[in-house]
């Protein structure tokens, strides 16, 4: 049984799971942006014969049940797995049932949601504009930050919002991989499941309402901003 409602009608435990969820989604989004941007760029520009295979691999989480991803990750990151076992031998802890474990799971699970909008935005950039930047002495990094990113800001915003929202809505991978450890892996979706199993419908109600409101407000803000971002810039 959770304690009596405290701050804003939610208990300390509930706040803890909300904070954990936000931390997980925030870190997932940051790391994914750094990973997905170069990956999406490579997929957009490459003529490599590996690009189809990589595209398929990136899109797998879209079609697989989260339990499948969670299952394989559990095997890999657990004490007997390739990753977890190696860590154990190095005197560290394996990653199953840990925050780092569910972070890795979230990153893999949300990868297509970060890559796809960036890829579309990058593909829409006229390559001659990048050539022009090169002839204006802009290095590859300079071109990426001064031309590619500003021209794909709609795609970046989409990637951030969808990744963040998708991670918040994640359940299956975490349930398989993280179990239900307060302050470590008990995110809101897990807590709701837990409360429902224990017939604590009041608590399940409160957390579900928080998720529902948050998701709606996030998407509302996203569509409002996106309309402005996508319209042509006015001269300053």
């Amino acid at each position: 049984m959770s304690g009596p409602p405290t701050t804003l009608g939610l208990t300390g435990d509930e706040w803890q799971s909300i904070a954990l969820t936000a931390e997980l989604a925030g870190l997932t989004t940051l790391i994914l942006l750094a990973l997905a941007a170069p990956l999406a760029w490579w997929l957009t520009r490459t003529g490599s014969r590996w690009s189809s295979a990589v595209s398929a691999l990136v899109s797998l989480p879209l079609v697989l049940p989260p339990t499948v991803i969670g299952f394989y990750l559990l095997l890999a990151l657990g004490p007997q797995g390739a990753v977890g076992g190696t860590l154990e031998r190095l005197g560290l802890y394996h990653l199953a049932f840990s925050f780092t474990g569910i972070l890795i799971g979230s990153i893999i699970y949300s990868l297509p949601f970060a890559v796809q909008p960036l890829r579309e935005a990058f593909a829409a950039i006229d390559p001659r504009v990048l050539d022009a930047a090169a002839t204006l002495r802009a290095s590859a990094w300079d071109r990426f930050f001064s031309v590619v990113l500003p021209l794909s800001r709609g795609g970046v915003l989409t990637a951030v919002v969808i990744t963040f929202a998708h991670t918040i809505g994640e359940f299956g991978v975490i349930a398989m991989l993280g179990g239900n450890i307060a302050g470590e892996t008990r995110v809101v979706s897990i807590a709701i499941y837990d409360h429902t199993q224990a017939l604590e419908y009041d608590a399940a109600h409160r957390l579900s309402a928080v998720l529902l409101c948050f998701s709606f407000v996030t998407l509302l803000a996203f569509y409002a901003i996106n309309r402005r971002v996508m319209s042509p810039i006015k001269p300053q």
Partner: protein, 354 residues
């Protein structure tokens, strides 16, 4: 000198330029039909395609040696694309500042001076997506020149523009290249642009450089590829002056003086006069009672018959410049025209306008 031999496969098109070398000064026109590889060669010279192989040296500096290439960002080039390729997320001013921030030794004062020179001062704070085609190309030219390049590469900068914008931009490009002294490599498939701008012509066909020669030599060949559209053309060098009557101007070249319609604004500084051979008639004696204002004594130097019954008659003006006349074989036989013969060349003034 710009010399090299470049290879580049783009899709199913193969550029294999063959060896080429030309002086890195004045305007060199890269001329050929659409799809002959002009743009591919220009991109290879700029270093914009990583797959380029071969050799390229610019004034002795190695820009390409086998697969090793100096990146485009480190060659002293300016590049003007056919569609301007401005940054759509930046204003006109910020497009120009993008160049200034990255140009070695650039001065912010250059921005205002060049904007004024190319005529975009009143558009500096405008969104580039609201500019007309001609205005976009002006911005692109200013942006490229702000880099203070040692060679300016222009890829059909006028091809996408309407005739009025073309007529305004051609003298601007002509003037800017003269003032700046920057070597220019200028792609076009329009003979008029070659004749108006170029000091020399590089002819390309099927991915290969066929020939590099001075404009004068290119125009002296009766089968010159420059004559494909409007037939043979003479380009006379001289300067404009006031005309004998209202709406008229004169063009002096050596000892000869042409009378023509007063050109409008931008063309007033023209130093070249294009005369189509088909607009030139020949007479064995000076005619009287004729509306044609231009009646010039010339001497026939050569005659080139064509399969279709035309003859291109090469005539030397008193100053030595060449004027070409296109007449029928029938006229040539009726007048018994022959080399070394003095004749009168007749040209209508209204024909002397581009």
């Amino acid at each position: 000198m710009i010399e090299g031999h470049l290879r580049l496969q783009r899709g199913c098109f193969l550029l294999d330029s063959g060896p080429f070398a030309f002086a890195a000064e004045g305007v060199t026109a890269l001329f050929g039909r659409s799809g002959c590889g002009k743009s591919t060669l220009l991109r290879a010279i700029a270093g914009l395609d990583a797959a380029t192989t071969g050799q390229l040296r610019f004034r002795g500096e190695v820009w390409q040696d086998g697969r090793r290439a100096l990146p485009a960002a480190r060659r002293d080039i300016g590049f003007v694309f056919q569609d301007a390729a401005l940054f759509p997320h930046l204003s006109v001013r910020r497009n120009l500042l993008y160049a200034i921030k990255r140009a070695p030794g650039a001065d912010k004062k250059d921005l205002d001076r060049l904007a004024e020179r190319v005529g975009i001062t009143s558009h500096l704070d405008q969104d580039v997506t609201t500019l007309s085609g001609g205005q976009r190309q002006r911005v692109a030219i200013a942006r490229a020149l702000l880099m203070r390049p040692r060679v300016l590469l222009m890829d059909e900068p006028l091809a996408a523009l309407d005739w009025r914008a073309k007529a305004e931009l051609l003298p601007l490009i002509d003037g800017l290249t003269l003032e700046s002294g920057i070597a220019v490599l200028y792609i076009t498939h329009a003979p008029q642009e070659v004749e108006r701008l170029a000091a020399r012509v590089m002819f390309m066909e099927a991915g290969r450089v066929q020939q590099i020669e001075s404009l004068r030599d290119a125009l002296a060949r009766p089968d010159s590829p420059l004559f494909a559209e409007e037939g043979p053309v003479s380009v006379l060098h001289g300067h404009l002056g006031p005309g004998p009557g209202p709406g008229l101007a004169t063009f002096d070249c050596g000892e000869s003086r042409f009378t023509l319609l007063q050109p409008d604004g931008a063309m007033r500084s023209a130093t070249r006069l294009r005369v189509l051979a088909r607009d030139v008639a020949l007479a064995t004696t000076q005619p009287v009672g004729l509306s044609m204002l231009n009646q010039l004594p010339v001497r026939i130097t050569a005659m080139h018959p064509h399969d279709d019954g035309r003859i291109t008659v090469m005539c030397a003006l008193p100053g030595g410049q060449m004027l070409l006349a296109s007449i029928t074989r029938y006229s040539q036989q009726a007048l018994q025209l022959a080399p070394d013969q003095p004749v009168w060349a007749l040209v209508k003034s209204v024909a002397l306008m581009d």
